[in-house]
């Protein structure tokens, strides 16, 4: 049969291509070792997929942090290089890329990852090889004792911090609260945070609806949510799910009956659905460019970002890229190089203020103690310009009290 003949020919060719690619891969490490002068930071992030907008901002800001250090002569005379890799929002892909970064590119540390599952995969690899990893994903499972290692640092906010801050601004004793939650780790962690906060405040839970991750249509959840007659609807999901679910809730007239609250309000998603839809929605954030009036570090971060990116403003997730890489480089500066144990030591002692005020990594679990913002999306007529998206309702200064205790996370105290 001619057909099967041609098929086997392709297979042979593919096999040859695969073999030569494999050989090239084996030869690579030798080349990588040659340039030992530069400091290399690996940066896996989901450049393709539904979180691409947030990931691109992370890369821009991480590059900025590297540039600022290099402009001042690098670290101990050594230049810093950022190696960006696309993790495709896939745990397996992230693990492979991270392994490559460590084994082939000989990176000195890894910063990055956006999704909770991907963060765990990266941490798995770095932990096993004793490489420092600074996570910028808003999920904190890697801080719990079972996944933690002394090489693991968590720069992003965690679900407990954001939900508590948002609940304080929006919930009161006796209020009825309903939840719409993405059915995966991130959603469940946020739900747990909200329920804990609402129990402390004395608000009542009237119902929870779990929705599939990445759903495009939320209409079928709306009649039931409305029949629960809550005062506040907490929508715990991320990326495009946030934009779509809020848009459709608004279409169903949900905002006339109840207030919409989210654990993390996203700059890019607000842009994606417009001011009318988001008007009045309240959510937590790590950063908002509008802080520049109150914070000197925000003003200088904004200015540096604008200068490097043609006048654009940095976003919430972008700021994580900047502070994640920035804090690591500051610790390397303090440690006088890249010796892992010395850098870990320096990170634990580091007091840094890069975007919004003082931050430090808590000793027991390496969670960054930092301020939490609560933002409210502005009405169109109240916006002073295209970038004037949010009003700052609260700016809670960072403190250890915001975090779950070390013993609750399973760390020896």
């Amino acid at each position: 049969m001619p057909k099967s003949g041609s098929t086997s020919k392709i297979t042979r060719r593919t096999a040859l291509a695969g073999l030569s690619a494999g050989a090239a891969l084996l030869a690579m490490p030798r080349l990588g070792r040659a340039a030992d002068e530069t400091i290399r930071i690996g940066f896996p992030t989901p450049l393709t997929g539904p979180f691409a907008a947030e990931a691109r901002d992370q890369v821009k800001c991480a590059e900025l942090a590297v540039k600022l250090v290099n402009d001042k002569g690098g670290i101990g005379g050594r230049k810093v290089e950022l190696l960006v890799r696309d993790d495709k929002l896939n745990a397996g892909e992230a693990a492979t890329r991270t392994l490559e970064l460590i084994e082939k590119d000989k990176v000195h540390a890894v910063v990055g990852a956006l999704s909770s599952a991907v963060q765990l995969a990266v941490n798995e690899v770095t932990r096993a090889r004793g490489v420092i990893y600074v996570s910028i994903s808003q999920s904190d499972t890697i801080n719990e004792a079972k996944d933690f290692s002394k090489y693991t640092f968590h720069e992003a906010l965690n679900p407990h911090m954001t939900t508590a801050a948002v609940a304080r601004q929006t919930l009161k004793k006796g209020m009825k609260v309903a939840h719409l939650v993405a059915d995966y780790a991130y959603g469940h962690e946020m739900l747990r945070g909200f329920k804990r906060a609402q129990a402390a405040i004395g608000a009542d839970n009237v119902g929870e609806i779990l929705h599939p991750f990445g759903a495009a249509d939320y209409s079928t959840f709306m009649p039931r949510l409305m029949s629960m007659r809550p005062d506040v609807l907490c929508i715990s999901n991320f990326g495009r799910d946030q934009a779509n679910s809020i848009k459709q809730a608004v279409d169903f007239g949900v905002k006339q009956q109840m207030k919409i609250v989210v654990p993390v309000i996203l700059h890019n998603q607000r842009l994606a659905v417009g001011p009318d839809v988001f008007e009045g929605v309240v959510g937590g954030a790590n950063y908002y460019w509008g802080l520049e009036g109150q914070s000197k570090s925000a003003a200088s971060f904004n200015a540096a970002f604008k200068a490097a990116n043609g006048g654009a403003i940095p976003t919430d997730y972008g700021a994580y890229g900047y502070s994640g890489v920035g804090s690591l480089l500051a610790a390397m500066q303090a440690a006088g190089g890249t010796d892992t144990d010395k850098v870990v030591d320096a990170l634990e002692k580091l007091q840094y203020d890069l975007t919004k005020g003082p931050q430090h990594y808590r000793k027991c679990d390496h969670q960054s103690v930092q301020s939490v913002l609560v933002l409210e999306s502005k009405k169109k007529s109240a916006m002073a310009g295209d970038n004037d998206l949010f009003a700052v309702l609260a700016n809670d200064a960072g403190s250890d009290d915001m975090l779950r205790s070390c013993s609750e996370l399973g760390h020896a105290t």
């Binding site: 059915d183 599939p212 209409s219 009649p223 039931r224 279409d251 890019n268 842009l271 994606a272």
Partner: protein, 291 residues
Amino acid sequence: MDLSLIIMQLLSGIALGAVLVITALGLTIVFGMLGVVNFAHGALFMIGAYAGLYLASLTGSFWWGLLLAPILIGAFGMLIEFVLIRRLYGRSIDDPLLLTFGLSYILVEGVRIVFGSDGIPFPTPPQLIGVLDLGIGFFPRYRLFVIALVAVVLLVLWLTLEKTRVGLIVRAGARDPTIMQVLGVDIGRVWLAIFGLGVGLAALGGVLAGPMRSVNPEMGSLVLAEAFVVTVIGGLGSIVGAVVAGLMVGISISMVALFAPEMATIVMFALMAIVLLIRPQGLFGVRGRTA
């Protein structure tokens, strides 16, 4: 559980089903009449949403976008048929499948380059903003409009296919193209029009979905999967099947969401599995048909 909630849920399901019907329809028509499995259907749905948004902002009216985008993208579909698909008729079914699969990647990347990979807001037309009080609850005006429009499109399509001379040629052409050619019908033009119609319907679905979801380059990929499920349940190539299966899937998702919301996506695939076990050719499909 109170009755009004169940009725509201049923209505949500019908509205959801209406969008599924319109997207599955184009897919099933193109397969039924041309034997082409169009993997670019989802990407063309997305292109339709972008075109609708662009035309709406150009003319200042949603209605022009709704009218012109399907026509324009339908014409683009004809170009695709004329330049690419035409060369693959008579070959095995996977050739056009691979071609359209590749095409979908080009279209999605193209949109990413031109419009960026972030979502873009698609405002609901001002006449249809807000909810209508149905006595038992509130329902978004826009979704009611979608149900009505899809019903009208179906009626027009049915009348054209069943009651006009053009429809007669199309139906005959699907059954036996050789005889049609012998009878002096330029079957190439019929196929061109059919493919254009299928793509135009995908674009219409995209424009209709725009104000309900944010518009982004990946919005078509999920839709493609849903359209395939509906087409398989209804029977590949069956128009009636697409309509019945679309509504069935919409209502099932909605009713399951009432009791086990986290299962809402899976129910669609479960339904497909059951139908395939009991009736492999789909509800209205013809047994043994391979196009």
